[in-house]
């Protein structure tokens, strides 16, 4: 399932909020895993790692809201990839990108 997230500046992040994504430093090293519940202590260490924005899990959506959001993504992706032809061998790489972005936006195993 694709995670719904919001990126918040450090000042707005409160202890108890949940990371929607793994937190990386500038060198791509993992600082905190996805789903970590942030504590005051962790937040006070962020400036040391040069972090001033955090990916925070959005409040849970109802199944209807989730479905609606998925639909918006699905329609938008279809529009962005409107010139792409899955049967054209020249579009082989476009096809791979299309499937990756689909999994990213809609979650794995969802029909494109």
């Amino acid at each position: 399932m694709a995670v719904t997230h919001q990126t918040l500046p450090l000042q707005q992040v409160r202890p108890g909020m949940i990371l929607s994504d793994v937190l990386l430093d500038a060198h791509g090293q993992v600082l905190l895993p996805q789903g970590a519940v942030l504590t005051e202590n962790m937040l006070s260490l962020m400036p040391r790692h040069g972090i001033d924005m955090l990916p925070i899990q959005a409040p849970d959506l109802t199944p209807e809201e989730k479905a609606a959001q998925q639909d918006v993504h699905r329609v938008r992706l279809a529009h962005l990839f409107r010139k792409y032809d899955p049967d054209n061998p020249d579009d082989a790489a476009t096809s791979i990108l299309h499937s990756y972005v689909n999994s990213y936006r809609l979650g794995k195993g969802e029909p494109a």
Binding site: G50, M53, L80, D91, Y100
Partner: protein, 284 residues
């Protein structure tokens, strides 16, 4: 909407390059210094600091989390000490270029959207470069500048360019097709002309000139990298352009990067995060 009665030529573009807003003198000096070994860095740092707006923007960028400074840089000299000359130079040029073109001169051309796309491509190119251990500064700058030719056309020929934009909307084609049909020249040619005029390095010029067709012999690896970054940014809808369209991805470029699905999914995420941050540093 019609095509121009008298199409533009490359000579027309080159003839107008001198009328474009120029980069601050110190930025030109920085660009020139790329291949020099005996640059006096402290003198350059001092010259940059005379330009307060430029300094502020450069430091905002240097202190963003993508460079991971544990202590904030408060002067250009400090930024050079912490990040190195190469990186700082790429930050100064980025900061200078994003502020140097006048906005709102061409009907239908959305400057903000243009920069959102450029910044997103820079962010994505930098993350890609790190994955494959390519020079991240080159990738960032090339990503930021890959479409700079559009600004050249918009600034020098605003009415004509407005027609190209209208043509694209009407025919739902790529921008390159619209430009070639309506104007007779395209933003890639204009970008290369500017790159020569501004003394960009060969690597940068090749990337700007070849990113739409990275399979061209001699295109260079950076062209492949920018090609893929550009497509990813469109697919992720980062510029939020209503009629945006993912261009055909070159198989040659895709294979040249050779990254796995897992890497791409992680990279999409990181690009989105970095993008928010760099937008705040460069475009606010």
């Amino acid at each position: 909407m019609s095509v121009l009665k008298q199409p533009l030529t490359l000579d027309d573009i080159v003839a107008r390059l001198d009328d474009l807003p120029s980069l601050p003198a110190v930025v030109m000096e920085l660009l020139d210094s790329i291949d020099q070994e005996d640059v006096d860095i402290s003198v350059l740092a001092k010259k940059v600091s005379y330009d307060q707006a430029l300094t502020a923007k450069t430091l905002r960028l240097a202190n963003s989390s993508q460079y991971g400074l544990q202590v904030k840089a408060t002067t250009i000299q400090q930024a050079i000490t912490y990040l190195g000359f190469q990186t700082t130079r790429s930050l100064i040029t980025s900061a200078a270029i994003t502020g140097c073109f006048p906005e709102g001169r061409c009907p239908g051309f959305d400057d903000k959207q243009f920069w959102r796309h450029s910044v997103a491509t820079a962010a994505c190119a930098k993350v890609l470069a790190r994955q494959i251990r390519f020079n991240q500064d080159y990738a960032f700058t090339a990503g930021l500048l890959h479409n700079v030719g559009r600004l050249v056309l918009v600034s020098s020929f605003p009415e004509q360019y407005a027609q190209a934009i209208a043509w694209q909307a009407q025919h739902d084609c790529t921008l390159l097709e619209a430009e070639r049909t309506v104007l007779g020249v395209d933003h890639v040619q204009a970008g290369v002309a500017l790159a020569e005029h501004w003394n960009f390095s060969d690597t940068m010029r090749l990337a700007i000139g070849n990113y739409p067709h990275p399979e061209t012999p001699g295109a260079g690896f950076l062209a492949s990298l920018i090609h893929v970054a550009n497509a990813i940014v469109c697919a992720l809808d980062l510029a939020q352009r209503g009629d945006d369209m993912v261009p055909r991805v070159s198989l040659v470029a895709w294979q040249a990067l050779g990254l796995s699905e897992e890497t791409y999914l992680q990279l999409f995420r990181e690009t989105e995060l970095r993008y928010d941050e760099i937008t705040a540093a460069l475009l606010s």
